[in-house]
Symmetry: C2
């Protein structure tokens, strides 16, 4: 890329090659984008900041996976509202040394691969230089029928607690990366079917670097009004369950045996109790945690997009109390928010 204008034109051409989505009157190339929601629909909006040396390290993050992750974390928020993602705006700041590499193209390659998978259109953004570090901010706008959004508040005593996918992989992957692990940089996309051929170490590193947002699950749970409350697991099960129960003014009991600990975590050499700790407290798995009325239990899909959901416990009426049940014994579960390697602060994620 010769300069930033060339690059904006490159990105714009990428978006113009695609079919214009319905509802988009103006995309990249004016002062702002112009979009219209479908009649009777409501919009959901989220924004996430990723900062080098806080949220990621450049030397262990292939640019394509950073482009993927920047979008993935915001798509996960939209899924957690029960909405369908439609539009995205992305701001990137890169130092001039990085600008001259293939970083920008690779970043957008990863970004568009994920966006295209879910028919999310890039409609705007900002591009800037920075003195030394990379910074990315993603904004995603989703849509759903009015009154169908799923908040963190809404869980009632007796509701069943489900979680999608498997837990603990992303934080196990972070440990391997911190210990010098090298992630594959030829990872084509987030589709699980494309993940064949990677070994367990590579797969857990990809769980950290290239999380798959549960977009299909979010849409299904929202459209069918199945979830009474929902949150995505970005800070860790214990922390995010705390957020959900606090917002709903309830408590919860989780059965240890039911927690879907990612089997990869033990395969990469961690002990059973370490794997459980990562599943409980590790962050960035970006799975969905949701509650369902007992009468709707049978209506919860076995899986969506090949990803199952697991019943792990029950909402109780003891507001503020989280419990772990294991072999007839019950102990208190304290939220142990996953603290990222450089003191990443809490966010609205």
């Amino acid at each position: 890329m010769r300069g930033e204008f060339d690059f904006i034109n490159f990105v714009r051409r990428q978006t113009e090659k695609k079919q214009r989505p319905s509802g988009l009157a103006m995309g990249i190339g004016d002062d702002a984008a112009v979009v219209t929601a479908r009649p009777g629909n409501t919009s959901v909006v989220t924004t996430d900041l990723l900062i080098e040396d806080i949220d990621f390290r450049r030397h262990w993050t292939p640019p394509r996976l950073l482009g993927h992750k920047a979008l993935a974390v915001s798509l996960s928020d939209i899924a957690a509202m029960g909405a369908r993602p439609r539009w995205t705006l992305i701001s990137i700041g890169v130092p001039s040394s990085v600008w001259k590499t293939n970083f920008p193209q690779e970043f957008y390659r990863g970004f568009f691969a994920l966006a295209d998978q879910y028919d999310v259109a890039l409609i705007g953004g900002d591009i800037s230089g920075t003195p030394d570090r990379i910074v990315v901010n993603s904004t995603v706008i989703g849509e759903m029928k009015q009154q169908r959004h799923v908040l963190r508040a809404g869980a009632r005593s007796g509701d069943l607690i489900f979680v999608t996918g498997k837990l603990g992989g992303a934080s196990a992957g972070l440990r391997l990366l911190e210990a010098g692990g090298q992630a594959p940089d030829n990872h084509p996309s987030s589709r699980p079917s494309k993940r064949r051929g990677f070994n367990a170490r590579e797969l857990v590193m990809l769980r950290q670097l290239s999380p798959t947002p549960r977009v299909g699950w979010g849409i299904r749970l929202g459209e069918q009004r199945l979830a009474t409350a929902m949150i995505d697991i970005s800070d860790g099960l214990s922390s995010d369950l705390t957020h959900l129960t606090q917002a709903s003014e309830v408590g919860a009991t989780i059965e240890v045996e039911r927690i879907p600990v990612d089997p990869l975590v033990e395969q990469v050499g961690m002990k059973n109790h370490e794997a459980l700790a990562l599943a409980l407290h590790g962050g960035e798995d970006f799975e969905l945690l949701f509650s369902v009325r007992p009468r709707n239990r049978a209506r919860v899909p076995k899986e969506v997009d090949g990803v199952p959901a697991t019943l792990i416990g029950e909402i109780t009426d003891e507001a503020g109390r989280l419990q772990l049940q294991e072999g007839g014994r019950t102990r208190v579960l304290k939220p142990q928010g996953f603290v990222h390697f450089a003191g990443r602060g809490p966010s609205q994620k």
Copy 2:
């Protein structure tokens, strides 16, 4: 502030103190915000990244004015679409040393002062640490009746060219700041009526640090379908007129005598030709540049919110050709994009 959670609660309380705007189902405190556009309305969305030592210097930028400016640049984009701003999300990253000061509160004080002035509601954002520099990303969503948005494309030969306010002040202010000028940090808001008591040097520095987006003008021009094309002046008149004429596939002739050069620029000691150069090529005045059909000339308001608009020239059919007319002589006007002090790149602004 003890920590970031306290701060998020502080910001959330600020938003909850205000009356809940119609159309807002969920603001800060869930995975995403939930908003509904008014029936028959269309949304416009813009996002802008501000990076320390690229877009601003910490030592000359009072935090309150940074909060103001972060929102102002995005509000200016919304105005340039002819829309009414409604919602905003703000991401801020600050190093821990700054976190411990009154920076966050002051930043939001400036932010909310401007947001409240135009009834724009803060509905989300992200907060993060950074290793050393401050970074801010603002997103603003506006609304207008369907088909009322004003693009850069749409100007036709014969259309009259207007610009709001006065030009050159922001870049003159930047020169003073670069030369060690000290801006007042007790500047309460962007309302011009509150600017009494400042001298000319302080006022031009405030033009740079605390620009006033032309929100009222944008709404008026959009609602009355007066502007055939519009852009905000962020890169400078010559550059932004180039953007408008390129998008419209037309040319333009500007009369030098009509350009509303900010009289403050000469008052702070710059020569007449320097002032004109800043008015033509200096950036960040955030005035609106728009074209109007000749038959609608009398319908253009004399002023909106106390800010006049000035007729400065005419659209021509010579696509790609910009001309300056002065005392019967005509010369070619080349875009000389204002390059910020550390090589700020172009953006969608």
